[in-house]
Structures are given as structure tokens and as C-alpha cells.
């Protein structure tokens, strides 16, 4: 059966505010870039358009209504995934695998800066019977999770600090407005928001949009000599009850990862992959992701302390600077990471460029309080 390739990607910059454009113009900017990158005429060529979003991030009930025009999808099969952009990529992958679809575009974006009452949206995501009447701050849930993960995986604040410094440093190349050159003193003076979660452990919100174009093998070969192949995908949720997940390992990331590894024929991920872009919405999540994706070499602390995950290390992680360095664009999170990975694989990562990487993993988890994961494995 046909392989699936990524043949185009386009993005706006990710910035704390994008007041010069409305969300449609932002989506259009990313889409035009992606279509030019892929060398396609969307009105003629596209078979399907997928967006990833949730209504309340947008200010519209049934956001799906407002997407076809600016993505070139009018009177075509278009739909929305209530998930991260990476879930959108997975659906596109499946559609192409059915054999009926040749070219599918996937879009995700964030206009977080235009939401005045962001906290209430997070509050509204909590279980209405047992959690919402008691807790109103999503960082409280993240902090409980952090305490659990630090205990289960023996993570220390030093390890978190090294992760934060690394990601900020990597983000400098991307011109991120959030990227800082931190030292330990800076980090030590960071205040608790929700103990043990500090200000520096949290990725701030950011606006932006990214569009990717996926193609069947046949179509990809028509369009480009250098497609990025999608070798494996995996996704899973750990279930809806946070209470159950709070005292456990995030095993579903392991499930999603293994699904993708199996598909890609990967047995020893750390040896077979060249780098990874993983979830770092909160600093501890990067380390948890690495452990769950079998990218910790058996000893997470040793890896972090020895700088294995830095750009110069044996297994660079979040080479684009991740969410900590670039900001967290809501459902576009996975798309931002995908963009960073594709740039690396294409040799377009500038100062951050790794030496000839061939295989990469992108993994993301949806925003608090969800427990949903998506994993994609890319190869040149």
C-alpha cells in the first residue's frame, strides 16, 4: 500500500500577539506558504482539508464553519479534529492510506492572545462534577502531575533547569520573542506559581498558524525529489479521569510511541532516530515524554546531565526550542514541532542544523487537563 509523505509545510511566525491579522488571514498566510512549498494549486489539487481546533479557543461554536475559504477547501471534503494538529496529521495519514485521497492539507493555529478569559476556558475543561466545583486553575492540575512525575521518574530541579536552558537556547535561532539566555541564578530566582511548578517551567501562550500538505507516494514523487516520509503514527488517550492518571505513569504516550515505532519498524528508538521534538508545555513534560518514548537510555538523569539532549549531544531533543522557548500555540503545538522537525530533516535549520539527520520523532500531548497523545515518525 502507498506510503505517505509530507510534501509541503508553511507557517506564520509564532509571536505573543498577531493583532495585524485576523484568524482567517493568519490561516491564509500559513496555507499559501505551504501550498507554494508543495508546488500545488489548492483549488484544483487538494482532496481534503483538515483543521485541528476546539470551539472555545476560537470564540465560535462549531468552529468548523469558518475554515474552508482561507484554506482553499470550499466545496471539498473539509473537517475539524477536536485535537492537536498532530492528530490532524494522523487523520490525513489514514485518509491517504485508504487509497482514495492523494493530497490532504492539515491546519492548526492559535489566537490565544485574543482570548481575554483564558482561565475560564481551562476551568470549563475540567470535570463538572468532581473537579470544577473545587479547582479553577489549570496550573494546579499541572503541578500535581509534576509532583507525581518527579517522584516516579526521579526528576530533580537541576534536570528541569538544564532542560529549560537548553530549549531557550535552541529557540534563539527561530527568532522567538520568548527565548532567553538563562543561567542557574536566573532560574533559581523564578517564583512558584503552583508549587512545585515555577514560572520558568511553564511555556507561555503564543499565536501563529502552520499548515502541512501530505501526499500519497505516487503524488509525492510527482511533486518533489525530496519528500519527508511519514513512517509511523501513533495516538492514544489515557482516559478522561484525571484522578486515575495523577498517580500513574503517562503510559499512553508509551502506547502511542510503540504504535508508531512498530509501524516504522523501529526497535531501538534512541539508536535509530536522530533527534526528537517532544512535548514541553511544562518543563517536566519533556523528561516524562523521553522516558515514556524509550528515549532515556535507561537513565534519564545521566542523559540530561551529560548533555545528550543538547544540539551537540548524541540525541538532540527539541532542536527548535520547543514550547518553552517559542511559546505554546494551543492546538497548533504539534504543528510547530512538526515544522521544526521538517526544517531539520530538510537541512534548513540554520544555526541549529544537525549533521545530516535522517529520522525524527515528533510527539505532543494536548493541553491540561487532557491525557491525549500523538506521535509521528518522519524520515528523509
Amino acid at each position: 500500500m502507498s506510503r505517505v509523505a509530507l510534501v509541503g509545510i508553511g507557517s506564520t511566525q509564532y509571536r505573543p500577539e498577531t493583532s495585524e491579522k485576523n484568524f482567517k488571514e493568519l490561516m491564509y498566510e500559513a496555507a499559501s506558504r505551504a501550498y507554494i512549498d508543495a508546488g500545488i494549486e489548492p483549488r484544483k489539487d487538494l482532496d481534503c482539508v483538515i483543521t485541528a481546533s476546539e470551539d472555545l479557543w476560537e470564540g465560535l461554536a462549531i468552529f468548523d464553519e469558518y475554515v474552508p475559504d482561507q484554506l482553499g477547501g470550499v466545496l471539498k471534503p473539509v473537517f475539524t479534529v477536536g485535537g492537536d494538529g498532530l492528530h490532524g496529521i494522523i487523520h490525513a495519514y489514514m485518509l491517504i492510506k485508504t487509497g482514495y485521497f492523494d493530497l490532504v492539507a492539515v491546519e492548526a493555529h492559535s489566537k490565544a492572545s485574543e482570548i481575554e478569559t483564558l482561565q475560564k476556558i481551562y476551568h470549563f475543561a475540567m470535570d463538572p462534577l468532581y473537579i470544577r466545583p473545587v479547582v479553577d486553575n489549570p496550573y494546579a492540575l499541572a503541578a500535581l502531575e509534576m509532583m507525581n512525575i518527579m517522584r516516579l521518574l526521579d526528576i530533580t530541579f537541576d534536570m528541569l533547569d538544564m532542560t529549560i536552558m537548553k530549549n531557550h537556547l535552541n529557540a534563539l535561532e527561530w527568532g522567538s520573542p520568548y527565548a532567553r539566555i538563562y543561567d542557574y541564578d536566573n532560574l533559581e530566582s523564578s517564583e512558584y506559581v503552583a508549587q512545585p511548578l515555577r514560572e520558568v517551567d511553564i511555556a507561555p501562550h503564543v499565536d501563529g498558524a502552520t499548515v502541512a500538505v501530505l501526499a500519497s507516494e505516487e503524488k509525492a514523487k510527482e511533486l518533489t525529489d525530496e519528500p519527508i516520509w511519514i513512517e509511523g503514527v501513533g495516538w492514544a488517550t489515557q482516559g478522561g479521569r484525571i484522578e486515575r492518571n495523577l498517580h500513574n505513569f503517562p503510559v499512553s504516550l508509551n502506547t502511542a510511541g510503540n504504535m508508531a515505532y512498530d509501524m516504522a519498524g523501529i526497535e531501538n528508538p534512541m539508536a535509530e532516530l536522530d533527534f526528537a521534538e517532544v512535548d514541553d508545555r511544562f518543563s517536566f513534560r519533556e523528561l516524562a515524554s523521553l522516558a515514556m518514548l524509550r528515549l532515556d537510555g535507561g537513565d534519564l538523569m545521566e542523559m540530561v546531565v551529560n548533555g545528550v539532549y543538547t544540539l551537540d549531544g548524541d540525541f538532540p531533543v527539541n532542536t527548535g526550542g520547543g514550547f518553552l522557548g517559542n511559546g505554546y500555540p494551543l492546538e497548533a503545538g504539534g504543528m510547530m514541532k512538526l515544522l521544526h522537525a521538517v526544517k531539520q530533516l530538510r537541512g534548513e535549520a540554520g544555526f541549529n542544523q544537525l549533521d545530516n539527520p535522517e529520522k525524527a520523532l515528533v510527539a505532543v500531548r494536548r493541553e491540561v487537563p487532557s491525557n491525549s497523545y500523538a506521535v509521528v515518525i518522519l524520515a528523509r
Binding site: Y130, I131, M147, Q195, L197, L246, H247
Partner: protein, 151 residues
């Protein structure tokens, strides 16, 4: 030229009936006990109590009184969501339970009343403080908070 447009999404009121699992929980609150759901097929206890087992999908027939509650995780909230310092820090605990020495899967997230959060130790026994019987409505807020259990 107009650059911004401010608008709202509002819904005056939502009501969430407690459902089949919640009904059992409410019954417990009345008697100042906490019930955990017991799935016979999986031999597993669950909190909050549900009407069904999400693993095997069988209906929950038995609800059992929890016999022990302890602090498993906690967080001290110093700032609000927008980064502003709070007047008083808020402490939330993740409370886990046992039924006759058996672990209960899940637990409850609730406010924790404690004098000095820096002295909190994980694993300490805690107990719920209930609102006066007349004020109870059969939902989680019938518990005012959890507090350390004095031995």
C-alpha cells in the same frame, strides 16, 4: 480604522446531573462516608465512584466505604492564572484512598486545610471535613476541605 472587536460567548446556566455513579457518592455524603466503586470483573476499586468500569464495561454493582484516606500529592498555589500574587496561598491535595488495605484507583482533588504547607509530608492520613448536614447538596462541595487526621 477599527482594529479590534470585542464580544462574548455566554451561557447563563449549565446544570450537570450527578448521574448514576454520582448518586451513590451523594448517598455517602449524606452519611459522611465516601464510597468507592468496586468492579467485580476486574477486582478493582475506583474513585470517584462511577456507574461502569471503563476497562471491561461491566456495570458497577457494589460500592464500598473507604477505610483510609491519605495525602498522595499536593500543590501550593501562590499566584493566580495571570501571574498575580494571591493574598493567601491555596493548598490543593490529591487524596487517595484504601478499602480494607486495598488501593483505590484514582482519588479526589480537594482543598487541603493546613497551617504550614512547608511541613506537609506525602502519605499522611487525612480526613474530610463535611459541611453541616442541612447545607449538603449531594455533590463534592459538601466536603469543605480535607485536613490532617490527628492520630
Amino acid at each position: 480604522m477599527k482594529k479590534e472587536f470585542r464580544f462574548k460567548i455566554d451561557v447563563p446556566k449549565y446544570v450537570y446531573p450527578v448521574g448514576r455513579g454520582g448518586e451513590k457518592f451523594a448517598e455517602g455524603l449524606k452519611k459522611e462516608v465516601l464510597y468507592a466503586a468496586y468492579c467485580e470483573t476486574c477486582d478493582n476499586y475506583m474513585m470517584p465512584p462511577t456507574a461502569y468500569c471503563p476497562r471491561c464495561f461491566s456495570e458497577i454493582k457494589e460500592y464500598k466505604k473507604v477505610t483510609h484516606a491519605y495525602l498522595d500529592l499536593y500543590t501550593v498555589i501562590w499566584k493566580d492564572f495571570n501571574g498575580k500574587d494571591l493574598d493567601e496561598p491555596i493548598v490543593y491535595g490529591f487524596i487517595r484512598f484504601e478499602v480494607d488495605d486495598r488501593d483505590v484507583e484514582g482519588g479526589l482533588i480537594h482543598k487541603l486545610k493546613v497551617d504550614d504547607p512547608s511541613k506537609l509530608v506525602l502519605g499522611v492520613p487525612v480526613e474530610p471535613r463535611f459541611k453541616p448536614a442541612k447545607e449538603r447538596k449531594g455533590v463534592i462541595t459538601d466536603i469543605e476541605h480535607f485536613e490532617l487526621k490527628l492520630e
